[in-house]
């Protein structure tokens, strides 16, 4: 088995998925590809089960928001091939007001809590998730606190300056 690197991996994925994935600049030596929500589960299943790739370890699922973009909220998957010690970063940007994406719990049980956290903070709706409820914040919270929709604290307020607290 040849050692897996980003070029071979990208060639493999492009041969399998073609235009459904768009490679991005490799940051920090990690291959980054963008895809869409129709492809994501097939892509994850492929890289997990393919004998030459074996990305068996789901490191993290989280989200990001670029408020100025057309599709502001993106879900990010970090997957690690423990066999080859190669990582891949997959991003799926979702249209505004329609943050739906199929759940990855069909592949990894570990995705359960990660998706709950992403829902809790970004309001991404993971369709098919067995128990999509908040995990860190109080249940009766009505907002998604990590979204960039809230004004920053008034920089001129003085009631919480250090000297009031003996610091």
């Amino acid at each position: 088995m040849a050692a897996l690197n980003n070029d071979i991996l990208l060639e493999n994925l492009t041969g399998k998925f073609g235009q459904a994935i768009q490679p991005q600049a490799d940051e920090y030596g990690v291959l980054t590809v963008h895809t869409d929500r129709d492809t994501i589960i097939d892509l994850l299943r492929y890289i997990k089960t393919d004998a030459a790739l074996q990305f068996i370890y789901l490191t993290d699922i989280t989200a990001i928001q670029y408020p100025e973009k057309e599709s502001p909220i993106g879900v990010i998957y970090h997957v690690h091939s423990l066999v080859h010690n190669v990582r891949i970063r997959i991003k799926v940007f979702l249209p505004a007001g329609d943050e739906r994406i199929p759940t990855a719990t069909v592949l990894w049980n570990g995705a359960n809590w990660m998706e709950r956290e992403t829902y809790d903070f970004f309001g991404v709706n993971f369709e098919g998730h067995p128990n999509l409820v908040r995990i860190l914040n109080v249940d009766d919270m009505t907002v998604f606190p990590m979204r960039k929709e809230y004004p920053l604290e008034d920089p001129n307020r003085v009631d919480k300056k250090d000297f009031y607290f003996g610091r």
């Binding site: 914040n137 109080v138 919270m141 907002v143 606190p145 604290e153 919480k160 607290f165 003996g166 610091r167």
Partner: protein, 180 residues
Amino acid sequence: MSEVQIVNAPPGVEGSGFFATSLDKAIGLARSHSLWPLPFATSCCGIEFMATMGSNYDLSRFGAERLSFSPRQADLLMVMGTISKKMAPVLRQVYLQMAEPRWVMAVGACASSGGIFDTYSVLQGIDEIIPVDVYVPGCPPRPEAIIDGFMNIQKLVQTESLRRRNTPEYQALLAKYGIQ
């Protein structure tokens, strides 16, 4: 003259072979020198409180020898550290499970006001959910400050009327927090 320090007797009428004072004062004296705290320590203030309990500062001098992590028979709820909104119902339940008479001490900036954590997830002071008797400032307060707060609680306990908890003011205060 002995080195042992003894608490002064409360004001009263002394005569040969008898000493008369009011029951309030006698009970207050006994209670204030045997306060049983329930440390509800969640963060750095809790570490500072551990130092207060250690031999150097020795909270046990005040008769607070029984530090219990159960509300049973505890008199003083010491809340030390950040209370998140998710922790609030737990804290409130602990307070409700304590029997009267009970006092509450908010130690440090977080328990008193939310401190530096002016965020969506942190309760901005425990007085939003339970009544507080003494606030100890500091971030974190030194053990001396915690002891000072404790002595302020002792003063409250000594001077409290036995019927304070039956007064309409106290009932109204509890009703404000939805406690009956």
